[in-house]
Structure formats: structure tokens, C-alpha cells
Amino acid sequence: MMPLWIFLISLALLAVGAGITAITYKLRNICSWIAFATVSTSSIGIIYTAVEIFVHGPIVTMDPLLRIPGLGASLMISMDALSALFLVIIAVVCVCSTLYSIRYMSHYREESLLRYYPFLLLFALGMIGVVCVSDMLFFFVFWEIMTLTSYILVVYERGKETNLRAGFLYFLMTHVGLVCMFAATFLLYARVGSFSFQALGDAMGMLATQNTGLLHLVLALFFIGFATKAAAIPFGLWLPEAHPVAPSSVSAILSGVMIKLGVYAILRVFVMMLPSSHFWYTWGEIIAIFGVVSLVIGSLAALAQDDSKRLIAFSSIGQTGYILLAVGIGITFLRVSPALATVAFLAALYHLTNDAAFKALLFLNAGATIYRTGTRDLNKMGGLGTLMPITATTGLVACLSVAGIPPFSGFSSKWLIFQSSLIGGIDMPLYLFFGVIALFISVVTLAYALKYMNASFLGKSHSEVNRSLITEVPVTMKIPQIILAVICFGLGVLPIMVLKLLYPAFKCLLPAGYLPDFTSLFGTGLAGVNLSFGGSISGMWNPLWLLIGTGFCFCLGYCVFKFASAGGSRVRVAETWYGGREHAPGEVQYASSSFYMAFKQYFALRVKGINFEGLYPKSVPLPRMTMPQPLRAVLDIDRWLYYPFAAGFLKLSRWFSRVHVGIPQIYILWVIIGVIVAIIVLFALPAG
């Protein structure tokens, strides 16, 4: 029971930390360090718990911490290996983000920290809560804590109208999603009268045989709810608006962790709760289709962006698409080919882990450039690489990872996704098509990653960039980036180790013995993956040998060069050559918007007056807060209470002021009348 207590203490610490930061918010520095200390301490506890789960199996509370007998709901802490995986991701990204915030938040001098740290800590608490409960009602409670706190963090800079509207869109869409999830849950709850995952799963089992239409409805509602959070197109419209306006440290958590919880919920409902049936087949396909749509539109739209954080936000949609594609393939084949399904699910979990690392890193990286240049416009940056070498390097690592360049992390997971979709495609040609699209979009990923890299760190600085003022970011902003960059590299080099860790995380969702053995799928290698789907090996990938080969080739080339150039040639530093022309500084900058112009044209269209760039509308009309007329009238207290009252009072006073005529005799007359009235009243009153 020891790990459970440590876990609960960690959670309590977060809550207490939220309280303390709420008190000390005026001391900006101290408040930031308290928040960091709290988050890092509780993260140690949470990671310890996760390790404990990986080593000794699930942690489940014997007695519910809280019981609502009337509803059949009880708060049980129940953590299996899948929860543990998410706990690790949450802990690492939150620690990095809080450390980063310490200096980054000085960017927002005018805004109060009262609206930042307490909510950041509660946000972390909400996310941890979501992955550690086994009861739908409390799942929603934590889900809602997560949504509300993240909403407050998104609209942190509340002075700007665009921020508020983007935040409102986020609020609106996630709550529509929540309503869908609630509806789905209550449809199931009505059958079993309990909110536990187990009971709801049984209800699904009953529906699968009795009322298939209703089960489809339930699954559709669940999917809409989770896909809204996971930001799959078209449910993820909030994401490209909300991410750029949130502080970068928050975007890192939103994109790195929070949207992944949508995938977590999909795994819980569609794999663990939904019993084995033909529903897997249908819904796997649907999820894969949404995945492909998201990865195509997200990535192509990212190509067309000139706002650094918006570009990364679209990249998030694209990578979620990859994850959902793999999840969809996995669910489709779960019944007919558990081997293929396992590979697909592990690919999804692997990509999810990688994406958490490099997406968080990219947002922190973009935040660092914003911190120094004060702009998100990629057209107005450029050439920061020599001024901010560490930031540029971590940015490069993130870009190569997201583009899936071996041996960085994105490659190993994408490789598994391609393998599973193409091998799955032999049985289902649809997935073959999806696999080819995914491979093509992977090049688009490289294109937008390079565009981000070029536009912010390489090339010529924009004339508005004051190069003499820009230096490397402070050390507390560098360390989180370095940590995440190392993780990005580390996750890619030893894929078999990562897969071994992920295998139990997926295995725990299904009955024991359902999935094939790990070594039968991925081979017995210590570093490399030899993929086989029952029979011959169909794909191989061994990053260690790639590195050995690369090292050998490098040495070979280096020796040849040193030998042939007989001691090396002289180095001279010279000005850039502009074709021999005199130029003004602004003339020779290649703007970010000029990149891939000819290619982007193929995906730019105009439908009904809305411009589409990269198949995504250039500007989504943000919702304005409008309410039905009667409700607005009721809420408008001024109008029905204050204004009539004030107007009446004014009228009364005016009438009364007529008395004031300025003739003393009339005043005396009034006094006499008053005295008479008083006497009459006094006589009229009964004595005693």
C-alpha cells in the first residue's frame, strides 16, 4: 500500500501547492519557485508510483475513497500500466513546463500570477485524476477540472479580444464534447445503474446483442467527445485557435499531454470496455478515417502557417492523426489478427509518447523565440540560430523528431505505423491507401519542420529583429528544452526497450492471453526490431547498427578527406555573396510565407468566400457570445431592477424639487402646515 500513499500524498501536495501559490502570487519569483518545487516533488512521487506499477502490477484501492451510493458511483484509485505510462508523460512534461514558466512568465508582467500557477497545478491534478480512476462519474469530474483550469490558462492574457474568443471556442467545443460523453454514459448507466468501467463495459456487452443501433449511437457519442479533446479534424477546430494564444508553457502541456488523454479515453472505451465483436471492425475503420483526415489536413495546413505556434498547433493535429490512424488499425484488427493489432497499438502508444516529448519541446522552443523577439510571426524572425545556439539545437532535434528522421524518436514510431497500415492493407486495401498517404504526409511533416527551422533560426534576420538585444534564453528555460531533446533522441535509439515498456501498458486492457507474445512479434534483439506477423520477418529496423554504420562511414570519409587535403585547407570568413549587388537588409530576406509557394497553391482553394490554405480555412470565424433574448433579459439585472428604480427615484426628486421656489413666505407657510399636521397626528395617536 506504500506506493498508493505516496501517490495520494503527491496529489495532495499539488492541491496544497495550488493553495500556497494562490496566497503568494504577488511575490512573483517565490511563487514560481514554490510551484516548481511542488510539481517536481510530486512528480517524483508519481513517477515512483508509475515505476512501481510497471514492476509490481496494478495498484487498486481496496475501499473506495468516496462513495455516492445513490448514484452507484465510487471514487476508486485504480492504476494499471496504461495509467502509469500517462502518469510518466504528465509528470515529465509538467515538470519541464513549470521550470520553464519561472522565467517565461516574466514575459507577462502585467498579468497576475494568481490566474496562472494555482490553475497550472490544478490542471496537472486534473490530468492525473483522469488517468487513475476506474469510474466514469469521477472520470468526468477530473476531466472537467482539467478542462476548466486549462480554459483559464488559455485565456491567461485576457486583455485581448481574440484570446477571449479563442478561449470561448475551446470552452464551447470541449463542453459540447462533454455533453456527448455524458449522454453516452447515461445511456449505458440506465442499464446497469453503476458508473464503474466494468459495469459500463457489461452494459455495452448487453447492447451488442440486444440493441446494436443504440450501441452505435453510444460509441459515436463517446468518439465525438474524445475526438474533440484529442483534436481530430473536424472536432479539433478549437486547437489551432487556442494554442497560439495560451502561454507557451501551457501550450506545451495542452499539446503534449492533454490532447493525448483523448486517445487514452478512446483506448479505455473502445478496447477495454467494448467487448470483442464486429463493432471493433466498424469503429476501427471510422477512427482510422478520422485519423487520416486529421493527419492530411493538419499537416498541409501547418505548411501554410506563418505564425510559429499556430504552425506547431496544426502539427499537433497532424500527429494526433497518426496516432488515431494507428489506433483505428489496431481496433479493426483486434478480433481477426491480434498480432497486427498489437503492433498497431504499440505504434500508437509509441508515437503518442514521442509526440508528447517533441511537441512539448517545440512549443517551449517557439516560446523561447517569442520570449526574445516578442513576435510569433515567422516572417519577422530569422537568423536566431547564431544568437541562441542551444535553443536552435533543441529546435533542430524537435524538428527532426517530428519529421521522423532516423535515428530520432519520431521515426521508430512512424515506421511501426507504416508497417502496420501497409501490412494490414494486404487484407484491407483501404489501409494500404492510408499507409501511402501517411508516408507522403511524413514528407510534408519534414517540409513544415524545416520551414519552422529556417524561418526562425536560419537564414537572414528580418530587419525588425534587433540582433544586438537578443541573447540565449535564461538557464531555467534552457534546461527543460535540453531534457526534452535528450528524451527525443533517447526514445528513438532503443525502440525495442521502449516497446517492451509499452507492451504491458497495452496488454493490461485486454484479458490475459489474448495478445501474442512480445518476442514473437518484435524478435529477440536487444536493440533492433524485427517485425513479424506470425511467420516470416516483414520489416527490420535497428538504430544502433545504423549509428555504427554512420560512425564508420563518417570516419572513412573523414580519413579520406584529411589524407587527400593534406592537412586541411585554410578557412576564411567572408560576407555572404548576393550576386554582386548592393542591397538593403530587407531585400535579401526570404520570407517564411514564400516557402513552398508552388506546392501550397495545390491545396489553396476558395469555397463560398472562405479562403482555404492547406485545405484548412484561413481564418475560422470565432464565435461571439450570444444568448437567447429572454435569457439575456433575465440576466440583465440593470435593465429590470436598477434602471426603473433609478428613473423613478429621479422623477420623484424632480417633483419634490418644485417645492424649492426661493420665496421665504412660502417656506414659512410650509413649516406652519407641517407643524399643524404634526399636531393633528400627535392628537390622533392614542395616548400611552
Binding site: 536552435a392 554504420g549 567572408a574
Partner: protein, 302 residues
């Protein structure tokens, strides 16, 4: 193990050691088309040596400017280890399949583009943008070709694809992608009419404008090696015949096939004008659609 090491060294020798010679052949050919005498066959070796001794003029102090050309060169050399050259088995075939190969080449391309982008030259940026657009449209062709081969062979290993194709004999799906891949070869090796990213006469060498001395030698060498690698894949995976069983003969036949391809590439290069980037994109997107037909045939097993 010793066999694998031997083949590995042989691959490196063919791809790195012989590629300037093939380039020399192409240049000689080009001169003949132009009614010139042309440089001697081993001129590219002289060029590389000469460049090595030249001054290294740096316009950027960024460490990437020094590192990226090496990454590009090393990646191309490493890619050679994942390709079967005449022997039917790649030396590193057990450590990486066709997808890994495609991505190592993507690393080489990314390194080349970073080399160019790190300079402040706008011509280089234009070159990067064009190179990336070419990659975007050309790479799907190669990928689809590999996917078709993989569906047929039920494996992504290049060795397995060669084995399957030799055993199975000609098939419709493979023929379609072979033709499509042949039409894409010109852009993969960066020759006319698709040397749009270099385009000496418009953007003054584009990607390479700021390169000089040893680093330029590295990049040039990498480009020559890349030509041999792509020609080899075409000659080995998509036309795996004839096979004699004798290692030496197989390798010689392979080299002869590669030489033939280099001559064809060189001829097309010599007689064609450069296309604009939008024309090239249109051309390749059309090719991608045709190659999807290959997948359709592969699914039905033809």
C-alpha cells in the same frame, strides 16, 4: 559476418569510390552531345581533389554550417549499406528495410537543405524551398514503388523483394512502378530537366551557392553517390535479372546495368531544358496517380 562486412566494404567502394567515374562518363557523354571533346573520364576525381585544397570560405559562423555537409555525406554513404548492389542482399539488410532506406535518404536531403538554409543567402533559401517541393512530390513515387514491391514480397526487406521478384518473374504491378520509377529517376538524382533546386542560370547554384572548398567537395561527392544509389535500387530491386549465381559476375552485371542507367540519365540531362517548379510538381503528381495503379494490381496479386 565476414561476408556481410565484405559486401559492406564493396558497397561503400562502389558507391563512394566509383561514383565519380560514372559522373565522368556522364560528362563525357554530355560533351559528345554538345559536339565537344569534353574532360577526361576521371575529371570528377580531379575536381574533388582540387576542391579539397581550396580555401574554405565561410559566410556563417553557425556550427550547422560545418556539421551539416558531413551529415549529408555520411547519410548517403550509410544508405549505401542498406541497398543490395548486385549481390541480392544488402549488407545491413537485417538492420533496416526499404522504409528505413527512404528515411536515411530523407536525412541526407534534410542535411543538404539545412546546409543551404544556414547561410544567409536568399538564393540558397529559394533552392531549399524548391528542393523540398521536389522531395514532396518525388518521394511518394519511390515510396509507392517500394510499397508495391513489399505487398508482393510480403516484406519490406529489400533483399526479400529482390528474391521474390527473381523467383516470381515479371508482374504487371511491378512493371507499372518500374516505368514510373524510371520517369522519376531524373529528379531523384537532381539532373535536368529537374535540377530546379540548383538552377545555375537562375539562382546561381541555389542550394550550393555558399559552399566552397572541402565542404563543396563533400556535397558534390554525396550527390554523385546518390545518383549511383538510386540507379542501383532501380537496377537491382526493379530489374533483378539476370542472375548468374557467381558473385563476381553478378556484381559486374550490376555495374553494367548501372552504367547503362547513368548513360540514359546523362543523355536525358544533355538534351533537355529545365522545367519550372510548378511544371515539375504537376508532372510528378501525375506520376503518383499512375503509380497508385501499381498498388491496385499488387492487391489483386498481378
Amino acid at each position: 559476418m565476414t561476408f556481410a562486412i565484405g559486401i559492406g566494404l564493396l558497397n561503400l567502394f562502389i558507391v563512394l569510390g566509383l561514383s565519380p567515374l560514372f559522373e565522368g562518363v556522364a560528362r563525357k557523354l554530355r560533351a559528345m552531345v554538345h559536339s565537344r571533346i569534353g574532360p577526361p573520364l576521371i575529371q570528377p576525381y580531379y575536381d574533388l581533389l582540387k576542391l579539397l585544397g581550396k580555401e574554405d570560405i565561410q559566410s556563417s559562423s553557425n556550427y550547422l554550417a560545418r556539421l551539416a555537409p558531413w551529415v549529408c555525406f555520411t547519410a548517403v554513404a550509410t544508405a549505401a549499406l542498406f541497398v543490395p548492389l548486385g549481390t541480392g542482399q544488402a549488407p545491413f539488410g537485417a538492420f533496416g528495410d526499404a522504409i528505413v532506406f527512404v528515411y536515411i535518404m530523407a536525412l541526407a536531403a534534410a542535411a543538404l537543405m539545412l546546409t543551404a538554409a544556414v547561410s544567409e543567402n536568399p538564393f540558397a533559401s529559394v533552392g531549399v524551398s524548391r528542393e523540398m517541393m521536389l522531395q514532396l512530390t518525388v518521394e511518394p513515387v519511390l515510396v509507392v514503388a517500394f510499397v508495391v514491391a513489399a505487398i508482393n514480397a510480403h516484406s519490406f526487406g529489400m533483399g526479400d523483394m529482390v528474391t521474390w521478384y527473381r523467383f516470381h518473374g515479371l508482374s504487371i504491378s511491378m512493371s507499372i512502378v518500374t516505368i514510373v520509377l524510371f520517369l522519376a529517376l531524373q529528379a531523384q538524382v537532381g539532373k535536368l530537366p529537374f535540377d530546379i533546386a540548383e538552377a545555375e542560370s537562375e539562382i546561381a547554384g541555389g542550394l550550393f551557392i555558399e559552399q566552397s572548398g572541402p565542404k563543396y567537395a563533400l556535397l558534390r561527392w554525396a550527390m554523385m553517390a546518390k545518383q549511383i544509389i538510386f540507379a542501383s535500387i532501380f537496377a537491382q530491386v526493379f530489374i533483378p535479372w539476370p542472375k548468374t549465381g557467381n558473385l563476381a559476375w553478378d556484381i559486374l552485371i550490376h555495374l553494367a546495368k548501372v552504367l547503362g542507367l547513368v548513360i540514359v540519365i546523362g543523355l536525358i540531362d544533355a538534351v533537355n531544358p529545365r522545367l519550372r517548379i510548378d511544371q515539375a510538381i504537376k508532372y510528378y503528381l501525375t506520376l503518383v496517380f499512375f503509380s497508385l495503379g501499381g498498388i491496385a494490381f499488387a492487391i489483386i496479386g498481378a
